[in-house]
């Protein structure tokens, strides 16, 4: 599978993240699955005219490629000119290059939430950049290529959302396409591959015990569950971050900070401060989507009253202060 990769209104973080792919070197991993970069702006040797010649040949259908990977938002401004991002050396808007290239691609992959839904660029008040995703404007289908766009493989844009994407999400999705193909039922309603978006961030979170007892962190660096006070959206965010570690052993929650749902369209403007949980009458709004509110409130009251001292005390410290009890043989004294 030949991959052509372009970057626009993003930070390059999705490529930097991908280079962290483990345990094998990314290049060896991809090569052995038959995947090669026809051109990648951060990694390939061809520069200037040589690079433009490759892109022009691809855009004109003279040079075959399979996958178009785009990283970064599409900047259509000012006034629809695309001047906020002209492809260097060509004087043409990147949006134009992407539209021309997408017509020839078997697969189109949006790498990261910027490309999928518009990202922070689309969240400047009034969106002066006229930024959008490839096939979405935040939650609304549309974007640069239009709601009806299908690539040659009869699929919409595949949104490997996340800010940044996890290297495993990109590598596994590319390999799935190269080795087995992808079908519409492999994607969710926002175009995300279910191979990672079929889980919630909450699944496997190391703070699950605190969550069960509603033993909540009160301040940054506390060990407790971050949902009640510190803005955690792990119960609503589609991704397997706590099942598939980041950088060997990490995740946002393991790092001690809340999930801001960076795989969800529109996460950039949650309507409240990121590290705070908006509440109504003391009850967090934005409770887990698949749980009736009244039950949640009732269960929370019950579990709070049953919270073990260890869980309650540890929740508000940055390291455990009460250790799990050791049961001695021979029963109680």
């Amino acid at each position: 599978m030949k991959v052509l990769w372009l970057q626009s209104g993003g930070c390059g973080g999705c490529t930097q993240s991908m280079l962290c792919s483990e345990p094998r070197s990314l290049f060896d991993e991809l090569r052995d699955a038959g995947i090669e970069f026809l051109w990648h702006p951060a990694l390939s040797v061809e520069s200037g005219e040589e690079a433009l010649a490759i892109l022009e040949d691809c855009a004109e259908g003279r040079l075959a490629f399979d996958a178009l990977c785009i990283e970064g938002a599409m900047l259509r401004g000012p006034n629809g000119t695309g001047k906020f991002h002209l492809m260097a050396g060509s004087g043409r808007p990147l949006t134009e290059w992407v539209a021309r290239l997408a017509r020839h691609a078997k697969w189109v992959f949006a790498i990261g939430s910027c490309t999928a839904y518009g990202g922070f660029s689309a969240n400047t008040p009034g969106n002066p950049l006229e930024a959008c995703g490839l096939q979405f404007d935040e939650q609304t289908p549309g974007g640069l290529l239009g709601a009806g766009f299908q690539s040659a493989a009869a699929l919409p844009v595949i949104n490997i959302a996340g800010c940044p994407t996890h290297p495993g999400w990109v590598v596994d999705t590319l390999e799935k396409a190269a080795l087995e193909g992808l079908r519409p039922e492999d994607l969710d309603e926002y175009g995300r591959p279910l191979l990672y978006a079929g889980e919630l961030v909450h699944h496997g979170c190391a703070r699950n015990e605190f969550y069960e007892f509603k033993a909540s962190a009160m301040k940054q660096s506390d060990l407790g569950c971050l949902m009640e006070n510190l803005g955690c959206k792990g119960t609503q965010a589609h991704a397997d971050c706590n099942l598939r570690p980041w950088n060997g052993s990490g995740s946002c929650l393991r790092g001690g900070f809340a999930c801001i749902a960076c795989t969800e369209p529109g996460f950039e403007s949650p309507g409240h401060a990121f590290q705070e949980t908006p509440k109504l009458a003391g009850i967090p709004i934005g409770l887990p989507t698949d749980m009736p509110k009244a039950w949640f409130v009732a269960l929370a009251a019950l579990s709070k009253s049953a919270t073990p001292k260890r869980v309650r005390n540890n929740a508000v410290e940055d390291h455990p202060v009460v250790m799990p009890a050791v049961r001695k043989k021979g029963g109680s004294k």
Partner: protein, 472 residues
Amino acid sequence: MTRIVVGPFNRVEGDLEVSLDVEAGRIQSAQVNSPLFRGFEQIMVGRAPLDALAIVPRICGICSVAQSAAAASALAEAMGVVPTVNGKISRNLICATENLADHLTHFYLFFMPDFARPAYADRSWHGAVSKRFTAVRGDAAAEVLPARAGFLRLMGFLAGRWPHTLAIQPGGSTRAITVGERIRLLALLREFRGFLEKRLFGDSLAAVAQLASKDQLLAWADGRPGDFSAFLHAASDLGLDKLGCAYDAFLSYGAYDLFPAGTWQAGQAATFDPVAIDEDTTSAWLAAGQPRHPAQGETIVDANKPDAYTWCKAPRYAGQPYEVGALARQVVAGHPLARDLVQREGASVMARVVARLLELALVLPAMEGWVNALQPGEPFCAHGEMPDDATGTGLVEAARGSLGHWLSIKRGHIERYQIIAPTTWNFSPRDASNQPGPLEQALVGLPAGEGAPPTVQHVVRSFDPCMVCTVH
């Protein structure tokens, strides 16, 4: 005179185009264009102050942690919060991990592949260098990616993930390290040290850190296996120890309490005064006016401004262009090797690359010391209140040099947020008095055009540019 436009300039971070006026095969003048605008300074306006911690890392995927640290410092100043001892050590470790990983990525994936170009096929070193450094396929890439990923595992422990962590807070870090994890961190540092000593240097880090002059460096490298020596050999052969000098005026905000802040110009060291910075918008597609100190700075798009040629502003220090980066840091800090290289031949391509690799040798041992100094059980984060009205400045050193954030808060919301990234300094355009930026200056006189060797490529990449930061 003919004009050549070079772009897309790849193997840099982001989008870059360079326009060259060439006569008789030599560059007479250069214009550096950043053809992408992102406008993060506007995104911040009106948000809750602490939201900056979630937003600014997305300016840059390659120095996201430096952006976080600059925001956290500015917010800490606004709040009057002082990070805890552990929190400060943690932040230094997180920033140093990113900076060193960046130096490594730059050397192996961005810079060295140019030496494998067919233009150098007649050089004695070309065969060996191509085998090792050809883009994507060279055997160095297969070794360096696992080494890089292994080193960035430090971030899994210290910051949850990289890029884009929220662990760095005004009062320190959200992630307390346990007794067991401290042992793991040391093991990861040892593993990375092993890679550097075996493959990059072919010698101990201590031996590299002690090299004190260009003569010592070249004598040390002579006949030594290792990628650093391969670079020094090729660069000497191509004369890259004399090419690519700009103004030889250097600026550093100081890093990790290890390298001091200061400036250095014409052989003179001076203290750094943050009031002397301003930004000029003459050549940018931004509304023009008097140059402003970033605390009063503005970013107002004027997309059709005549004679403008980039989205990058022109930062100046006391009205002068300054170069920032690893070389600037080491010259300001007084490392004898960095000073000797600059005093003999100026800030050449070779000097910039040497300074980055020298930092690998200097900072990794310091990191081992910091991990040992962590006190599990003591607090990692201090807490405070955000005032409704305040200002703050955060000055840090990213891998590529001096990064500054200036913010003001009014009625509980961000009122102004201005950023000057390292590449904004290095790749700045002309200012109101028509002074070229450092790269524009460094390109003058170089060979270019039909049949010219890829010298321009080496010079541009020697700055390790990051355009997404530049146009934030």
